[in-house]
Subunit: 215 residues, 2 copies
C-alpha cells in the first residue's frame, strides 16, 4: 500500500510520469523511480501496466486526450484546420519530452481518432482526394509534433536557458563568414527561435498554406 494509504491508479501514475518527464526528461521515467515516488514496490506497477511500453502508450494517450479540439463551425476550412493544429500544438508544447511518443499513436487512441477525423474532413473540403488527404493528415500531425520536439533538449532550469541561447548564438557567430554567410547572419534568430511564439505561429501558417498549395 502506498504513501498515506492512497491506492495507486493508472491515472495517478501516468500523471506523475508526465510530470517527471517534464522536469527531468523521458529517461528519468522509470518503473522503479515511479514506484519509489509512490512509496510502493516496483512490481506494484505491473499490476497497473503490462510493461513499460504500455506505460509510455498511456502517457501518449494522456497528452492526446488533453487536446481541446475546437467544435466545427461553418467558417472556411483553412481557418478551422489552423485552429485544430494550434490546439494540438498548445496541448503538446508544455511537454516536449513526451510529445514524441504521440506521433506513432494518434490513430490508436480515441481522442487521436477524433482529431484525425476532423482533419480528414477539412482536407477533403480543401479539395484533396482520399489518398492525398490521408497522407497530408498524417504528415500535418507529425509536423506539429516536430515543431514541439525539435527544440534542443535542454536538461536545465528555465533561467539557464538564456545562457544556452547565448552560447548557441556565440558558437554560430564564431563560424567563418566566408563559408557560412547566411548562418552567421542569422545566428541570433537560429539560436532562439524555439523560444519565440512566432516560430510556432509562422510555421503553422506555412503548413496551412502548403495545403492550399497542393489542393
Amino acid at each position: 500500500m502506498g504513501k498515506r494509504g492512497v491506492r495507486l491508479s493508472r491515472e495517478a501514475i501516468v500523471g506523475r510520469a508526465v510530470e517527471l518527464a517534464d522536469a527531468e526528461g523521458l529517461a528519468a521515467v522509470t518503473i522503479r523511480r515511479l514506484a519509489q515516488e509512490n512509496a510502493v514496490t516496483p512490481m506494484a506497477m505491473y499490476w497497473h501496466f503490462d510493461d513499460k511500453d504500455s506505460l509510455l502508450d498511456a502517457m501518449a494517450e494522456h497528452l492526446i486526450a488533453s487536446v481541446d479540439v475546437p467544435e466545427p463551425t461553418d467558417g472556411p476550412w483553412d481557418g478551422q484546420l489552423r485552429a485544430i493544429l494550434a490546439a494540438l500544438l498548445a496541448a503538446l508544447r508544455p511537454h516536449p519530452a513526451v510529445a514524441g511518443l504521440a506521433s506513432a499513436r494518434v490513430l490508436a487512441t480515441e481522442p487521436g481518432l477524433r482529431l484525425a477525423e476532423r482533419v480528414l474532413e477539412l482536407l477533403g473540403r480543401a479539395g484533396l482526394d482520399t489518398r492525398r488527404a490521408a497522407e497530408a493528415a498524417m504528415f500535418l500531425v507529425s509536423s506539429v509534433i516536430a515543431l514541439v520536439t525539435a527544440a534542443p533538449a535542454d536538461r536545465r532550469g528555465p533561467e539557464d536557458e538564456e545562457d544556452a541561447v547565448r552560447q548557441r548564438k556565440a558558437r554560430l557567430q564564431a563560424l567563418p563568414p566566408s563559408r557560412y554567410p547566411h548562418v552567421v547572419a542569422a545566428a541570433p534568430e537560429l539560436a532562439n527561435c524555439f523560444d519565440r511564439d512566432g516560430y510556432f505561429d509562422d510555421n503553422l501558417d506555412l503548413l496551412v498554406r502548403g495545403v492550399h498549395g497542393i489542393a
Copy 2:
C-alpha cells in the same frame, strides 16, 4: 585487442551502431552490445567515446554527413529547395530509427551547417526576411525528419510489414462509421501511406508550396 587483431576505430563503431539500430532498433544500440560485436571489453568503448551520448552524437553526424547536397544552380529557388530536402530525405529514409537523433544536432555538425547555409540562402531568395528564414529552415529540416520517423516503429522483418498494414487497416475499418466516417473511408490509405513514395513526394511538395505561401 579485437577480433582478428583489427583495431577499433570511431568510424567502424559508429557504422556498426547504425546497422544495429536499423536492424533491431535504437534500444539495441548499447555500449556493451557494441563491445561484444567487436569482440572487445565494454570499457574499450570509452577510449573512443566520452560516453554513450557522444556515441549517439556521432551516429547523428554520420547520417547528416551522408546527405548528398546538390550543387547550387541558377534555377529557381523552389526547385533547388525541393532538391535539397529530397536529398536529406533520401539519406535519412534507410535509417528511421536513427533519424530522430539528427534534428537537435544539425547546427552542431559541419555537414549540417552546409545544409542549413544552402537552405537559408534559398529562403532569402524566396523573399523571407532573416528571422522568418531561420524559423522556416529549422522547421523544414525537422519536418523532413518527422516524415521519416513518423512511420509506426515496426520491430519486424520486411515481410511481416504487410501483415502489419493489413492489421492496421482492419482496425480502422472496424471503427463505427457514424463517428469516424472519414477515418473509415480512408483506412487503406492511412494504413499504408508510409510505404508509398507518394507520401514523401506529396509532403515535400506541401512544404515547398508552404514556403511559397508565406513569402
